[in-house]
Every structure is written in structure tokens, then in C-alpha cells.
């Protein structure tokens, strides 16, 4: 291997990237846009569920009940209904995803029996949302009951004691505010790097074929290894730049807590870049048109990174076979590394499994990529 040739290639490639608007856009604009879209757009929290209320009684008690739902901050009153049929209608129109029905004898039952039932109806087409809304409703109801009891106790001059009640004091670790953004943003960074990295290198060899410059290049004594390393070098620099940008945005813009150390982050990011750039390069060697190569790169990075990396859907909730399949999705290792480093402050020792997975992947890809390029026209 000759370093002069390697650097001559890297220099040439950098010039071409600099003069190619398409490459520049992928390198610099895509991470910016994706960080914005995915960072803001993707959130698993459901805030302020639209709620319809059918208050059949319309008493002071029932209004207090509704108020405590709205006051909880989890619900937003979208419509007041006056007829039974309206519930179905409001659901169909999508003007609410939960409905609260308070029976006509609500306050009477409450004063007679000390308890009364209200009906909550959920639009369960989106199971995830429904589960969360159900949880919110139970919370709001518990709050309302407590307030009613307190009022009743105060009115009757009884000390408001809690009898036989067990309280759960939930402790949430690592993501104390239970903000799903903290959990998702590190995954977003991994997805963006996978996408951008593979996109960039997927063009590098196919561009030479398409423009007819490959024939001249391979007529020189340059070796396949020099071509691979020389071409990957500038993209590596761009990849690190993008990674720095995305990670900084995560910490300083989206305020994802960063508890780990920079060294672990640097090492693992380098490893991940080797894998994604190598995959793009492999695709580029195999597919000689830029469009085709970029499409395949999109397919091979976007789909698995989105679905099987654990970035949105937790891997340990998947069926066994799919869990096994996710082992070949390189993004999953980096997603779990980033989450560990960001939220738990994990170190290299803690992360040995995903780091080993990534390292193995990097070696395999580099080996394949170094062998794939042939200095022949056929």
C-alpha cells in the first residue's frame, strides 16, 4: 500500500465532494433536516388526549369531576356532548380519542353509597395511545376521588385519614422525567448517521463508472485497498462532523442528559462509521449506477435501522425469531450504546456486547469491501 496514492485519492475525492451539490447536500443538509424532523416529530408521549364529555347530570359534583380531568394536564376538553349517539359520532369524526360519560345519578349515588361509577370510552384503534390514555384516566380519576374525599371530610368535620391504602412511590431511573424524547433522540442520531453515511459512500464508486472515469483510474497502478481507504477517508471526516453535529444537537438543543464519557462515545462512533461507510462502499462497488446504488443504500439502512434497531420498537418485546434477526442489524448496537452512554453513563466495560457486535461487523464489512473491488472492466 502506498500512502501517497492513498492521499492523492482522498484529496481528489474531497475536491469532488466539494464541487458536487448533491453530495454536499447529503453530507451537510440531510443531518440538519432529519435531526429537526425526527427530533421534533417522533415522540411516543401522548400529551393532552382530546376528550369528549357527556355529562348527563351537570351537577356541581360532576363538573368538579370533569375539571379534575382537564386540570390533570393529560386531557384537553374537545367537545361537550348532549346525546348518547354523539359519543359514537365524535369518535368517528376523530374529534376525540377518549370520552367521559357521567351518569345522571352520579352525585346521588355518591352521597348515598359513597361511591359512583363513571364510564370512560376509548378509541382503541391505536393500542399504544389507548393504553397510555387509560393510564392517564386512572390517574385523573384517583386525583378526583382524593379531592372529593377531602372535600367531604372537610364538610363533615372529619379528619381526612387514609385507611388501609397502599401507596406506590414510583422511582424512575435514567430518564427521570419519563420523557420519551430522551430515549428516542439517541436512536435518531444512530439512524441519521447510518442513512447519511451509506448514502454518501454509495455514490463514490458508481460515480466513477457512470462518468467513465473508472477506466482511466484502474489503468493506473493504484491498488484496490488504496482505492477503498483513499475514498473512505474524506467521508470518514464528514461522518465525524455529522456525528458531532447530531450529538451536540441532542445535548444542547433537545437537552438529552449526557452522563457518559466522550471517549466511549468517540470510539463507538468511529466503529459505527466504519460499518456504515463500508456498507455504502460495498453497495457502490456492486451497483454501477448512482441512482441504483443510492436506492439500495436507502433500503438497506433506513428500513432495518427504523424497524429493528430498537430505536422505536423495543427489541426485547419482539418475537424470538425477530430478536435473532435484529442481531444482524448493525444500528441496534449503536442505538443501545448511545442510550447507555447518554442516559446511564455506561462505559466501555458495560457496553462490551454491543461494542463487540459492532467491531465484528466493522471487520467483516472492511474485509468484504476490500475484496469486492476488482481492477477489471468485466
Amino acid at each position: 500500500m502506498n500512502l501517497r496514492r492513498l492521499f492523492a485519492l482522498a484529496w481528489k475525492e474531497s475536491l469532488q465532494i466539494w464541487r458536487d451539490p448533491r453530495s454536499l447536500a447529503i453530507a451537510l443538509l440531510m443531518p440538519l433536516m432529519q435531526m429537526g424532523i425526527l427530533g421534533y416529530g417522533v415522540s411516543l408521549d401522548i400529551k393532552r388526549v382530546p376528550l369528549c364529555v357527556f355529562d348527563q347530570e351537570n351537577s356541581q359534583q360532576s363538573r368538579a369531576m370533569v375539571n379534575s380531568f382537564v386540570a390533570s394536564g393529560w386531557f384537553r376538553l374537545s367537545r361537550r356532548l348532549v346525546r348518547d349517539d354523539d359519543v359514537r359520532d365524535a369518535m368517528d369524526r376523530g374529534s376525540c380519542s377518549a370520552a367521559l360519560v357521567i351518569p345522571v345519578d352520579f352525585s346521588r349515588r355518591l352521597s348515598q353509597h359513597g361511591s359512583a361509577a363513571v364510564q370512560a370510552i376509548f378509541d382503541a384503534t391505536d393500542v399504544n395511545t389507548t393504553n397510555i390514555a387509560l393510564g392517564y384516566a386512572q390517574g385523573a380519576l384517583a386525583l378526583a376521588s382524593q379531592q372529593m374525599y377531602a372535600r367531604w371530610a372537610a364538610a363533615h368535620g372529619v379528619a381526612a385519614t387514609r385507611v388501609g391504602q397502599v401507596d406506590l412511590e414510583p422511582g424512575t431511573w435514567f430518564n427521570e422525567t419519563l420523557d420519551s424524547r430522551n430515549f428516542i433522540i439517541p436512536g435518531v442520531v444512530a439512524v441519521i448517521l447510518a442513512l447519511v453515511g451509506a448514502q454518501l459512500t454509495s455514490l463514490t464508486i458508481s460515480r466513477e463508472w457512470e462518468r467513465g472515469t473508472m477506466e482511466q483510474l484502474i489503468s493506473t497502478p493504484v491498488t484496490a485497498l488504496e482505492v477503498m481507504l483513499g475514498k473512505l477517508l474524506p467521508y470518514f471526516a464528514i461522518g465525524m462532523l455529522d456525528a458531532g453535529f447530531c450529538l451536540a444537537t441532542a445535548v444542547f438543543w433537545f437537552h438529552v442528559p449526557f452522563r457518559g464519557d466522550l471517549f466511549t462515545l468517540l470510539i463507538t462512533t468511529l466503529l459505527f462509521l466504519v460499518v456504515v461507510l463500508g456498507i455504502g462502499y460495498l453497495i457502490s462497488v456492486r451497483i454501477r449506477s448512482q441512482l441504483g446504488a443510492s436506492q439500495v443504500a436507502l433500503l438497506l439502512t433506513m428500513l432495518p435501522a427504523n424497524l429493528l434497531s430498537g430505536y422505536t420498537f423495543p427489541i426485547d418485546q419482539m418475537p424470538g425469531a425477530i430478536q435473532t434477526l435484529s442481531l444482524v442489524v448493525y444500528a441496534r448496537y449503536y442505538v443501545s450504546i448511545l442510550r447507555g452512554v447518554f442516559l446511564k453513563g455506561s462505559t466501555i466495560d458495560d457496553l462490551w456486547f454491543p461494542i463487540a457486535g459492532l467491531s465484528l461487523y466493522a471487520l467483516l464489512i472492511l474485509w468484504l469491501a476490500a475484496r469486492a473491488f476488482r481492477k477489471r472492466l468485466d
Binding site: 496514492r5 485519492l9 484529496w11 481528489k12 472515469t213 489503468s219 497502478p221
Partner: protein, 322 residues
């Protein structure tokens, strides 16, 4: 390398693409310092042969040595010692003249102490002084070709392969390009240059004529003109030309006939004791009998084009001749 020493040799060089035989058992022997023209119609196998000799395509059969190295087993060593200009322009359009030269100087590991001087030489040779910082895509065809040649000789290769370097270039620029090739030859560079311009053949020391993958003739322009025609060439003014050609081709002893401008060129076999060849005068009589308005037949000295038409013709026009 000594002038006149063999520098390139191929034996039974064959290349197949599926069922199609692009190059068929080609033997080639080229001496140091020669300018060899590689001629033949489109698709004859010129590019395929050159690509094999450059180590860009593996031969299906046969072998070849270039600058002393085997093209199968020592392809990298071959590449160190050759300069190659591909048929399609293949420098980087989005880079400047100087950037392209610098890049290829890097690829060929031109010594740093020599690089500036070699790049200067290439720029002067290509006549690109003052355009060093122009993007290649803004250059006209002739300049591009000369720059490509400049990039190919930065490392002083003893052997040069030029694949149709002058195609699509205006005549003025073509002549200038050939001057460059001869300058290089004077410095001992061996050049194999393919072309489909017949007039360029005259610029070559030797010509290798290739047709449908096979080498059909090889020699100096003079040798080819003298030996390959197989008879005497006559020029004949007549009207209508088409009918005259049809009729002429059916006559005994006509080796070849073709329309040349407003005349008919006819090659007549030398009269032999057992052949029933006709003479030029007899041919004119027969043409007139058939209603063709024919003038006098003059013997002319053949151009290379006459030779090529004789040697390279589509199979359906090949006549059985004695």
C-alpha cells in the same frame, strides 16, 4: 530499451463475451520505438485488444507480454510501465487541468522532485498554458485529448496505448496530436494507437489491420499498398455507378470493386495462363454493352483505403475469386 527490440508481443490473444468472439487468436509483435496504427471498422476488436494489453480485461485464451511483463500474472507491473488513453474521455470534468495532472502524478508516484517539471511539460505539450486552472469540462475536444495524453505520459511510460484518441476531434487538432505522438516516438516511446480515420494510417510506422477480431494484415503503409491488393487497381469514370458496380462484380478476374467518389475503383487480377480474367479494356466493352456510359480506365496507385476495402469487407460482399 534498445530501439528495435521487441517490447510487446501477443500470441493467440482471444477474448469472448458470451458467444461473441471479440478478438480471435491475435498474434502481435511490436518493436521498441514503433508507432503502430491499429485499424479496423467499428466493433472489429480494437478496443478489446488494447484493454487486454493494458490488463483491464482478462484474455479468454492466449497470452501477451507488455514491456516485459505478463498481462495475466503481472498486470500491476504492466500498469506501472504503460500510459493509457481510453476511447471515451475519462479525466475528471469537475477538476481543473492542474488538479487532474496532480492526481495522476500521484497515482503514478511521479517523484516529488520531478513532479512540477513533468506537469509543466504536459501543460506545454497540450498547449494549455494559461488554462491550468480551468475546469476540464470547459475545454474543447482537442484540448481535452491532449490533456489526457499529458496525464498518460507523466510517469514517462515506455509503452503508450491510445484508443481512438482523435475521434470527434477537428482535423487541425488531429494533426497536432499526431505530431505529439511522433515527438514521443522520437524519445523511444512505443505507441499502439487505434483509429478509424484511414488518412491517419499514413502517419504510422506499421499498421495492424483487424477485422472481426482477426488480424488480417500487418506491415508498413508501403508494404500494405504493394502486397495486399492482389492485382492492379484501375479508376473508371462511368454512369450510372450503381449498375456499373453490380455488373463489374460479376466479371471473372475482378478481385474487388468499389465506388470512390464519382468513379469506380476496380482491382483486376493479373492475367494468368489458366484464369479467365478480363482486361480493363474488356471490362469497359462489357459495361458499354450493358448500357453503362463508361470512359477510359486508368491504372492508379492504390491508397491505403483501397487496401482496406479489399481486406475488410462484410461477408455478404465477399466474392469468390480465383
Amino acid at each position: 530499451m534498445n530501439a528495435g527490440a521487441p517490447v510487446m508481443g501477443g500470441e493467440g490473444l482471444t477474448r469472448r463475451f458470451g458467444d461473441f468472439v471479440a478478438v480471435d487468436r491475435l498474434d502481435l509483435n511490436i518493436l521498441s520505438g514503433e508507432v503502430v496504427g491499429f485499424l479496423g471498422p467499428n466493433g472489429a476488436g480494437k478496443s478489446t485488444t488494447i484493454r487486454m494489453l493494458c490488463g483491464l480485461l482478462l484474455p479468454s485464451a492466449g497470452s501477451a507480454r507488455v514491456a516485459g511483463y505478463d498481462i495475466r500474472t503481472q498486470a500491476e507491473a504492466v500498469r506501472e510501465h504503460i500510459g493509457y488513453m481510453s476511447q471515451r474521455f475519462s479525466l475528471y470534468n469537475d477538476m481543473t487541468v492542474r488538479e487532474n495532472l496532480r492526481f495522476f502524478a500521484g497515482m503514478y508516484r511521479v517523484a516529488r522532485s520531478e513532479r512540477a517539471q513533468r506537469m509543466k511539460f504536459a501543460i506545454r505539450m497540450a498547449g494549455l498554458e494559461g488554462r491550468e486552472n480551468a475546469l476540464v469540462r470547459t475545454l474543447a475536444g482537442g484540448w481535452k485529448q491532449r490533456l489526457a495524453l499529458g496525464c498518460a505520459i507523466l510517469h514517462r511510460p515506455p509503452v503508450l496505448f491510445l484508443d481512438e484518441p482523435t475521434s470527434g476531434v477537428e482535423p487541425e487538432a488531429r494533426r497536432r496530436f499526431w505530431d505529439l505522438i511522433h515527438d514521443l516516438a522520437a524519445q523511444g516511446v512505443t505507441t499502439l494507437v487505434s483509429t478509424h480515420y484511414m488518412d491517419e494510417a499514413e502517419y504510422c510506422n506499421r499498421i495492424a489491420l483487424i477485422d472481426r477480431g482477426r488480424l488480417v494484415a500487418m506491415g508498413s503503409p508501403r508494404e500494405l499498398r504493394a502486397h495486399e491488393l492482389g492485382g492492379t487497381l484501375y479508376a473508371l469514370r462511368c454512369q450510372p455507378l450503381g449498375a456499373a458496380l453490380q455488373l463489374t462484380l460479376t466479371q471473372p478476374g475482378v478481385v474487388e470493386a468499389a465506388i470512390f467518389g464519382d468513379r469506380l475503383h476496380v482491382v483486376l487480377a493479373p492475367p494468368g495462363p489458366e484464369s479467365a480474367s478480363i482486361t480493363a479494356d474488356e471490362l469497359i466493352i462489357r459495361l458499354r454493352q450493358a448500357g453503362v456510359d463508361a470512359g477510359q480506365a486508368h491504372p492508379v496507385s492504390p491508397s491505403l483505403e483501397d487496401v482496406f476495402i479489399r481486406l475488410v469487407s462484410p461477408p455478404h460482399q465477399n466474392r469468390n475469386h480465383p
